[in-house]
C-alpha cells in the first residue's frame, strides 16, 4: 500500500493534486451532495413540492423483498461478468505477449470491439442472438435447443452476462497486455534460465508482477458491471423475463430517468455507491499488501 522511498516536501504535492481535486469537487461532490440530499426527499419531476422525508426512501427499499433480491442478483452478475471478462482477456493477453508473428495485428483486432459505439453493439447482439432471426439464435432453435431468452430466465441471464463481458474483454486485454509488456524482460529471462517452464513461470513470475494491473482491473470491472451495463441489458432483455435480469442499475435508471422518481432513484444510487465502496475497501485491505512487490 505504501512506498518506502519518497520525496520530501508538501507544497509541491498539494499543487499537483489540486487540479483533479478541484474538478472532482465541482463535478462529482457537488452533484453527489445534491443526489444524497434528493435521496432524503420526495419531489415531483420538476423539483417542486420537495418534502424532506429522512431515511424513508431507504427503509422502503430495504423492506422490499423484490429489491433485496435484485441486490443478490446484481452481485452474481458482477462477479460472473468480471470473472469471465478478466479470465478471457488474461488468456488472450498472455498469448499476444509472445514473440509471435502478427502480434500487432492480433492486438489491433482484439481492441476494435471496444471502439464500437455502444448504441450499435447492443443491436448487433440482437442480430446474433435473437431466437428467430439471429445468426446463432436461429440455428440453435433449428438444432432442437429451445433457445428463447424472452421466456427463459437463465438463458436471459446468460445472454446479458455474455454481452456485458464481451464489451469488457477488449478493455481488460489492453491493460493486461500493457502490464505484461511492462515486466522487464531481464526478470523473465532469469526465470527461464532457472529452468522454470511456461505455466510455472507464469504462476510465479508473470502473474504476481501483474498484481497491480489485476487489482486495478478488478475494481474497474466490478464498477463497470454494476453501473455501465444498463444499456446492454436494457436493449437485450429490458430486465426480463420477470425480473430475471434486472440488476440494480436498471432500476436506478428506470426510476430516475423514466418514472422521474428522483427520491427513490437517488436513494438507490447511494445504496449502490456504498455497496461498491465497501467491496473496494475490502479489496484494498486484502490485496493491498500483495500489490507492492
Amino acid at each position: 500500500m505504501e512506498r518506502r522511498t519518497v520525496f520530501g516536501g508538501w507544497l509541491l504535492p498539494i499543487l499537483l493534486v489540486l487540479p483533479q481535486l478541484t474538478l472532482t469537487g465541482f463535478f462529482f461532490y457537488w452533484p453527489a451532495a445534491q443526489a444524497v440530499w434528493s435521496s432524503m426527499t420526495t419531489q415531483d419531476a420538476f423539483g417542486a413540492g420537495e418534502v424532506f422525508v429522512g431515511l424513508d426512501n431507504f427503509s422502503e427499499l430495504l423492506a422490499d423483498p423484490l429489491y433485496v433480491a435484485s441486490v443478490g442478483r446484481t452481485v452474481v452478475f458482477c462477479v460472473t461478468v468480471s470473472a469471465l471478462a478478466m479470465g478471457l482477456a488474461l488468456a488472450l493477453a498472455v498469448f499476444a505477449d509472445r514473440e509471435i508473428r502478427g502480434k500487432g495485428a492480433y492486438r489491433t483486432l482484439l481492441i476494435w470491439p471496444y471502439a464500437i459505439a455502444p448504441a450499435l453493439s447492443s443491436i448487433l447482439f440482437l442480430f446474433i442472438l435473437d431466437p428467430r432471426v439471429g445468426m446463432l439464435g436461429r440455428p440453435l432453435n433449428r438444432m432442437g435447443i429451445d433457445w428463447d431468452y424472452h421466456l427463459n430466465g437463465n438463458q436471459a441471464l446468460l445472454t446479458v452476462v455474455m454481452a456485458s463481458a464481451w464489451k469488457q474483454v477488449s478493455y481488460n486485454f489492453i491493460f493486461f497486455l500493457a502490464g505484461l509488456q511492462s515486466i522487464p524482460r531481464a526478470v523473465i529471462e532469469a526465470a527461464r534460465m532457472d529452468g522454470a517452464k511456461g505455466w510455472r513461470r507464469f504462476r510465479t513470475i508473470n502473474f504476481p508482477l501483474l498484481a497491480p494491473t489485476t487489482f486495478f482491473l478488478l475494481v474497474v470491472n466490478i464498477v463497470y458491471a454494476a453501473f455501465d451495463t444498463f444499456g446492454t441489458i436494457n436493449a437485450l432483455t429490458h430486465g426480463g423475463p420477470g425480473k430475471d435480469t434486472e440488476t440494480l442499475v436498471l432500476k436506478v435508471y428506470r426510476d430516475g430517468f423514466i418514472n422521474q422518481d428522483i427520491g427513490s432513484s437517488s436513494a438507490q444510487s447511494v445504496i449502490l455507491m456504498l455497496g461498491v465502496i465497501a467491496i473496494t475497501a475490502l479489496q484494498f485491505r486484502f490485496m493491498g499488501k500483495k500489490v507492492t512487490e
Partner: protein, 277 residues
C-alpha cells in the same frame, strides 16, 4: 520443436479470440455492404457484398438527417475525445505521483476522495451536473462537452498502481544523481509508464469518442453533434432504418479510434525498453 508447437497453439487461441470478439465488428463491416431492407427482415449475412459500397458515398454526401455533414461530426468527436484523453491523463499522472511519492497531510483523504468518484453512476449525477454547468454558463459550448468528463478516477487509480510498483533502486539512483521530484517524474516515471499511458490513451480516447448521454444533454446546437449522436439519429425507432447507412457510418466512426490504436502500438514496446534499467 516445442517452441513452434507453442506458437501454433498461441495462434489458434488468438485466432479463436479474434473470431469471437471481432465478430460483431465484422458484422458491421459486412452489413454496410448489404441491402437495408434485407437487414430489416433479419437477413444480416456474414458475407459482405463486395460489389456494393454505395452506402459510403451516400452517407458522406447526404450526411445524416439534421443536416450535419459526417466530417463535421467526426471533427467534433475528435476534439472532444482528444481533450478528454489528454486531460484525464495529465491531471491523473500529477495526482497519482503526488499521492504515491510524497507524504503530505491529508494525503490519504485526497486519494480516497478522488477514488470514490468511480462509485456513483453518471445517470445519477447527470441532472445536478447539468445545473452546475448551467451556473458556469457552459451549457451548449464545446468546453462543456468534455470538462465534466475528465473528473473521474480510473486513470489515477491505474497510475497509482503503476507508480507504487516502480523499483526503489530507480528512485535512489535519481536521488544520488541530484534529480528533484519533477525531473524524476519527467525523465523516469513517465517513460517507464509508457505502455500503460498508451493503453490508457486508447481507452480514454474511445471512451470520449463514444460519449452519448452527456453531449446529448448539454449541447443543443447541431454544430456540436458528435458522430455517435449522429449515428443514433439514424437508427429508427418505430420507423424504417436505413441499416446499411447506419453500419457504414459506424464503420467511419470506428476509423479514428482504430487509427489511435495503430499509432499507440509503438508505445507499447517503447515503455518496455525503458524499464530495463
Amino acid at each position: 520443436m516445442a517452441r513452434q508447437d507453442r506458437d501454433w497453439f498461441a495462434h489458434a487461441m488468438l485466432g479463436l479470440g479474434v473470431v469471437l470478439f471481432a465478430l460483431p465488428v465484422w458484422l458491421v463491416l459486412a452489413g454496410s455492404t448489404q441491402d437495408s431492407d434485407a437487414i430489416a427482415r433479419g437477413d444480416l449475412s456474414l458475407v459482405p457484398d463486395l460489389t456494393n459500397f454505395s452506402a459510403y458515398p451516400r452517407v458522406l454526401a447526404h450526411g445524416t438527417m439534421g443536416a450535419q455533414p459526417v466530417w463535421h461530426m467526426l471533427l467534433v468527436s475528435l476534439g472532444m475525445a482528444l481533450c478528454i484523453a489528454g486531460g484525464k491523463i495529465a491531471i491523473s499522472i500529477l495526482s497519482a505521483y503526488a499521492v504515491v511519492f510524497f507524504r503530505f497531510p491529508f494525503r490519504k483523504i485526497a486519494f480516497w476522495s478522488i477514488f470514490v468518484t468511480l462509485m456513483l453512476p453518471v445517470e445519477v449525477r447527470i441532472m445536478p451536473t447539468y445545473s452546475v454547468m448551467a451556473t458556469f454558463g457552459l451549457i451548449n459550448t464545446f468546453t462543456g462537452l468534455w470538462v465534466p468528463l475528465i473528473a473521474s478516477a480510473t486513470a489515477t487509480l491505474l497510475f497509482r498502481q503503476v507508480f507504487v510498483a516502480i523499483p526503489d533502486e530507480l528512485v535512489e539512483a535519481a536521488r544520488m544523481d541530484g534529480a528533484g521530484p519533477l525531473r524524476f517524474l519527467k525523465d523516469i516515471v513517465i517513460p517507464v509508464s509508457g505502455a500503460n499511458i498508451a493503453a490508457l490513451f486508447v481507452i480514454l480516447f474511445v471512451y470520449g469518442w463514444n460519449q452519448y448521454l452527456w453531449p446529448l444533454l448539454v449541447a443543443t446546437d447541431p454544430g456540436l453533434d458528435t458522430i455517435v449522436i449522429g449515428l443514433v439519429k439514424m437508427i429508427g425507432v418505430e420507423t424504417q432504418t436505413d441499416w446499411s447507412a447506419v453500419m457504414a457510418t459506424a464503420v467511419l466512426a470506428l476509423l479514428p479510434p482504430v487509427a489511435v490504436v495503430l499509432l499507440m502500438q509503438r508505445w507499447f514496446v517503447a515503455g518496455l525498453a525503458e524499464g530495463e534499467k
